[in-house]
Amino acid sequence: MAQHFLTEEQEMIRDLARQIAQEKIVPMRAELDEQEEFPWEIMKLLAESDLFRIWIPEEYGGLGEGIFGLCLAMEELSRACAGVAVSYAGSALGGTPILLYGTEEQKQKYLPQLASGERLGAFALTEANAGSDVAGMQATARKVDDGYVLNGTKQWITNGGEAEIYTVFTITDRNRGARGSTAFIMEKGMEGFSFGKKEKKLGIRTSSTRELVFQDCFVPTAQRLGREGMGFIVAMKTFDQSRPGIGAQSVGIAQGALDEAIQFARERHQFGKTISSFQAVQHMLADMATEIEAARALVYYAARLVDSGDRSASKIAAMAKVFPSDMAMRVTTNAVQIMGGSGYMREYPVEKMMRDAKITQIYEGTNQIMRNVIAGNLIKEAAAL
């Protein structure tokens, strides 16, 4: 299959992720969703199969397969369960700032741990009053001898409590707005670093979402990520890397829903024939499949562009998040529609997929913010001509 011109290594990643997803995750997903328990057993399997190594360069114990490799794994895992997939990807999101802006020492220390999967990572930016408006952040880091003291609360942090390595964004100089933000690498167990309760969510319910609470938490200067005041840039450059991953998650969720809808339509009989023989259903399936292929092509293009280091990646990465996630919401909703009453029941997986799809339009920058990013870049490019 010469689909998308994948290398042999990329095909290996896709095939192994697909095998794990179908053999190990599909049988457990309904229970994981119902129990809202973190999928440690599956995280262990992913670690043993080297899936956490994919995006990390070889010199830090990874496989050097970049964001594209990560996207291939994300797509397959999400096709089975988006909650498992985000727990997996949350670790990469926490590690990406370290890869991009960490000192050699920080990279040597943390990336191999993330690569082996022995420790999970997490990314902590959002606060109660700072979602899309990052500059509204309240958490502070005050400079003291040999380090900083952190105070404040991070909200809705994926892998919160389960991860051990956190990239945390703070304000070091409130007068400088976004330029007064600084990132730190924090570890679970540091004195003054605790967790809030696990949040109850609409979808991706197996994933862990918690508050991180910092109360006079001292951190040595060696844990600072990048220079003082660089936090905002660290976060934005990280999102350029991670947004295609959310696109891949969206493609996976939608593909999973289409798979279910087609199978159901071929078996369900009404008016003496299968519902797949009705043109109304056929056209829905055709549109769903076409949109998935379009989104997949955009995600793969964006991931390759990001891996190439192209400077225009920011705009394309935002496109590769906004289009697939809107698409996934439509496709999963239509999958439920095709399956009717059955689709609405928890006995079938599509209602979960529809619940899971919603978050892809919200996290990693809302789709409204994505359009701001795209438009901002378009106007900037036009002005530069």
């Binding site: 042999e8 290594e9 290996m12 990643i13 192994l16 095998q19 794990i20 190990k24 399997l45 043993e48 199969s49 080297d50 899936l51 190594r53 994919i54 496989l63």
Partner: protein
């Protein structure tokens, strides 16, 4: 500890995976080196590559036209010679039986050839180390615990372990690895003890057994049933 795992490529790979997996059980407790060994046509290399993707250290393929047609006796002789060439070993693992020939003879015969103790039908390795191994042998009505000195051979049943998943590193290594292929001469077998010439067993015919009919159940009072049974047997000409 050096462990040799014998596998056989058969149509349908389920069995192969089980055998190559078995080593994990022992590996988790001891520093060890696992070699997967197979004898078969050159395409059996694919089964060895699969074993490498699961994380085994070394693989060896013994393949030679001179070995074609070997029965279990000749095969066990060749495998024993091959294992001797690998060198030091502490434990040899074989499947209970292959799903094509179904004889369950090769494992025990290899042990006899090598002059080492063996236990067949192992469902669990309880402990290994200090020059001995303690295993559970599956029986029809429970299990037996058996301890024997190393080096030794065990043949294992399906229950011994769940196949582990391949890893990406393993798959990458499997793709690149050069698989050593040893000839009959390399392992030093006597020509008249292998192949058709060295095989006292001859397979005359392969057939699927006729499915047995459903049988008939006679119910009722003992005396009456006995009478009906006697009549039926008379009609069928048995009495």
């Amino acid at each position: 500890m050096n462990i040799v795992v014998c596998i056989k490529q058969v149509p349908g790979t389920a069995e192969v995976r089980i055998h190559s997996e078995t080593h994990t059980l022992i590996r988790d407790g001891v520093e060890s080196m696992v070699t997967v060994f197979t004898m078969g046509p050159p395409q059996a290399e694919a089964a060895l590559r699969e074993a490498v993707s699961y994380g085994v250290d070394e693989v060896v393929l013994v393949s030679d036209r001179a070995l074609v047609g070997s029965d279990t006796l000749a095969t066990a002789y060749a495998i024993a010679k091959g294992i001797a060439k690998i060198g030091a070993y502490d434990l040899i693992l074989c499947g209970k039986q292959a799903i094509d020939g179904d004889t369950a003879q090769v494992g025990p015969e290899v042990a006899e050839r090598l002059g080492i103790p063996f236990v067949a039908w192992v469902r669990k390795v309880e402990e290994v180390g200090d020059g001995k191994i303690r295993v559970q042998r599956m029986m029809d009505d429970g299990y037996e615990v058996i301890e024997m000195p190393l080096p030794a051979l065990i043949t294992v049943v399906k229950e011994i372990n769940e196949p582990r998943l391949a890893s990406l590193k393993g798959k990458l290594r499997a793709k690149k690895l050069e698989i050593p292929m040893w000839s009959a001469e390399d392992i030093g077998v006597e020509e008249d003890q292998v192949g058709l010439k060295g095989s006292p067993t001859q397979v005359m015919r392969i057939f699927s057994p006729e499915p047995r009919g459903a049988g008939e159940r006679l119910e009722g009072e003992a005396e009456e049933v006995a009478q009906r049974l006697a009549e039926r047997l008379k009609v069928m000409g048995f009495v």
